[in-house]
Amino acid sequence: MRNMVLLIITILPFLGGVVWLLGLKRSAAAACAALLSGTSFALLLSLAPVVAAGLPVGASWEWVPAIGLTAAFFLDGLGLFFAGIILGIGLLIIAYARAYLAPGEDAARFFGCLLLFQGAMLGIVLSDNVLLLVVFWELTSLSSFLLIGFWSHRPEGRQGARMALVVTGTGGLALLAGMLLLGHVAGTYSVTGILAQGDAVRASPLYGIILALVLIGAFTKSAQFPFHFWLPHAMAAPTPVSAYLHSATMVKAGVFLLARFWPVLGGTDAWFVVVTTTGLITMLVGAWIALFKDDLKAILAYSTVSHLGLMTMLLGFSTGFAVSVAVFHILNHAIFKAALFMSAGIVDHETHTRDIRRLGGLATAMPICATLALVATAAMAGVPPLNGFISKEMMLEAAHGTNMGHPAVVGALVTIAALLSVAYSARFAFGTWLGRSKLPPDAHVHDPSPALWGPVAVLVALAIAIGLAPQTLAAPLVQLVTGAVMAGPGAPAVKLSLWHGFTPALAMSAVAIVGGLALLLFQNGLEASRNAVWRPDAKAMFDGGARRLVAAARRIGATVHDGELSRAMLAIVATVVAVTAALFLLFPHGEGDRPMLPVTWPALVGWFALMVSCAAMVVAHDNRLFALVVTSVVGLIVSMVFLQFSAPDLALTQISVEVVATILLLLALNLLPRVTPPARGLGRPLRDGLMAIAGGLGVGGLAYAVMTREQSTIAGYFIENSKPLGGGTNVVNVILVDFRGFDTFGEIIVLCIASLVIYAMLDTALRGAAARRLETIKPNIESGDAHPVLFALATRVLLPLAIVVGVFIFLRGHNQPGGGFIAGLVVAIAFLMQYMASGFAWADRQRALDPHAMLGAGVLIAGFTGIAAFVFGKPFLTSTFGYLTWPVVGKFEVASAMAFDLGVFLTVVGTVMLALAQISRVEAKAERRAVPEGPMDIRFPPMDEPDATPVPAPPLDTSRSA
């Protein structure tokens, strides 16, 4: 039961996507969001006693077991703590955002993204699988990108979102690598499983790498130095987003990660040095920069950086006491920082500025907000009796007891950081609320409605209450969470109190408060001297880096591919030749011992013809018509080879494809230039020739090496089962339509797509620039009689015969050489002859079948034949066959595979017809002759017309391409 509840808690916020999709209005969207997160929060609270009692809560489903990915969730003290903060603060943010968003803004998108983000955060803290955790981790990066860039019309919003995505996304990749290694070392991807393997992980030689990768993930997310620069730029987000992401959730994910894997990765010297130092530096740097910022949100952003450094440093200390302080401060910081961000948002909302130089004295105009903000600021500064004071005192105490190089180093540095923290807090308070107002006198500033300050008041009340009664309100929770973080015995008894007695920490605290206030007096002078010194500008460096990266990518792209196909081809061929040559030389090679077939005279003649054709092709391919003829000759020789070596089906297919392809190329050549301009110089042809010879030698040698070796083949299965299982004796055809029918089905779909692309490309060529060029092409009359009577008559007589031949080849295909592919080609050729003999216009008018319809029918018939097998409970394309007896014809076989073959047949006919008919149509446009009327589509010129004499063929038109 409670396991299901856990799942519902995680899933509910993701339903927020619905809010976005429905496009709800502001109040409805807010209500919907509040309902979802509120329910989730209530369910979480209902589980709290179970967790407090130490009972396990977990649920898991197999997702991709092969890679160790399970959708597993568990709830322990740490998860409960973080989920509570995420959902609790989330509710207040939703209430605040409802009042904050202007009526015109896309509230549905806002709340949808906010809930997606909330769900992703919950996923991180509740995952019981490290890979799932990384998935949610990346989801927070993505959804925060959408939130930070919510005001996508503002460039700083887009840039801030992009920077946050790049930094946290890169960290996410490092984290993924780290988690994969961690899971590999621990032997499990379960978080609970890994937590039990701490000693094994720390002893592993991979520990250093794992630690580095996980820390990069955590430090980028939690904006630790030197990755801190993205956080202030993320302030371009609407204030409710900043308040949520940068107080309670997003940036705390890194701290959560450190706490979660503290028992596994922590406790070593490397952990202590790296994590403590990074935290300490971040704490100092953040506080120092915050002192000089003028934008209220920027001050808070750098303050957040500083406080995140504090938590990181505490987790680095590796003592139970420090862990408990870190946990306590996570809670306190979430409370006062969310309140402060919301206050800054209220100031912005009321005065339309966040610049501290233009604010001041708002306390008189906005007494309620001023009181709330001043209390929260005091908590941030660590002033008693507020919650921030207690955790800061404890932090100073923990630091005081830490020895790093010299006993006083850490203590002194954290005192300086605390001092700076007091200084920027005081500046924030005085500059905004106290002192003299710098706003224009006509500005009517007043407290907003309680809807806006109500959530702030809740948080401030909490800050005061925890400050006054820490032991009652916070200690049990902190105790529970500390125990969960340390995952085992050794957690100290947590004792929280406002008054610790006269301790060194109290002295440090006093120094910090007095020194911080004193420092504020010198702030102007400090700023002047700070501005006099050069300092790195993170955004400029980031932008410069991104620009250089893009420029480098462009340069590389332009170098390796300059738009010239032959260069790319050369690179491919050269690479293949080089790699295979290297392999050839590195490994033993030689011819095999399979006996060779004796050479016959016809074969020798064919070989000789092939060699002559190849040589002729290289020398004279500039003459395109000649090159086409040579190509056909080679195709013919290829089909002879098939015939010679026991492949009648291939021979038939090759020769009919040859006919169709030659017609196609002839048609294209009618419009393309007739001559290829000769290459200039000898360098290129020589280089290409050497490359080509190398490639030819390689392929030929490989073929020879294979052919002279014995093979092991699965052919026996097909030959034995062709008749019993497939019902046909032509094994090749049975393989095509039966054994490997699914492949063939795919192939005819490819044919379909190819012919539709051809149609699309040529149909649009009849318009636009291509059509205008068609107009300029001079008709090329090579023959005085375009449609000779004898040719036209002969083809018409032949058409029925050719179709009968096609049907014959089709029907016998299952048992004898033939089949759908060949029959389709034969029938298509018969149709094409009509186009050739009688012209496009006439033939196109006569045809009854639309090629599009044939294509569609072909694929559908083949598909339905396959699906029909389902009806009989068999897998797709299972075939069956039986025998029928007709009078006269006698007994003959009917196989379901024949219907499939019919689909193949129709597709092939459709493809050929569509491709060639389309080209003819374009040509007809180029010829621009009136379609001759008359029964035979043959122009019978009147005897007395002078231009009826055949036009002599012009010389080859080489100027056409210019």
Binding site: A558, N730, A915
Partner: protein, 116 residues
């Protein structure tokens, strides 16, 4: 006989490679056709060379050649035709659009028109 076929495949490959390295579309198309021939023959040869033993099941047949490469090559021939038709039309359309049948990007480097 094997040597003849292997050298034939090598020669066709070499011509095909030489042609696809040309600058104009038409030789490239013919080059691809040649390469298709070579690849189909190569695949076919993987079933080894057998004379007078077609893969047609019949009682008393002395033996059969390997039908599997044949089935693969048969579809390969038809698909090569589909591919040839596609690139021919692509070349044709490109020529009609730009007035040049060079296989290069006109927007980068020298334009084909200017070079003539």
């Amino acid at each position: 006989m094997e040597l003849l076929l292997a050298s034939g495949i090598g020669a066709i490959t070499a011509v095909g490679l030489y042609l696809i390295l040309r600058r104009e579309s038409f030789p490239v198309i013919l080059g691809l056709t040649f390469l298709s021939y070579a690849v189909n023959l190569f695949l076919f040869a993987m079933g080894r060379l057998v004379v007078n033993q077609p893969p047609i099941a019949a009682p008393g047949a002395p033996g059969y050649t390997d039908p599997l490469p044949q089935a693969l090559v048969l579809t390969a021939i038809v698909i090569s035709f589909g591919m040839t038709a596609l690139i021919v039309v692509l070349a044709l359309r490109g020529f009609l659009e730009t007035g040049s049948d060079e296989v290069r990007d006109e927007t980068q480097g020298q334009s084909g028109e200017a070079e003539r």
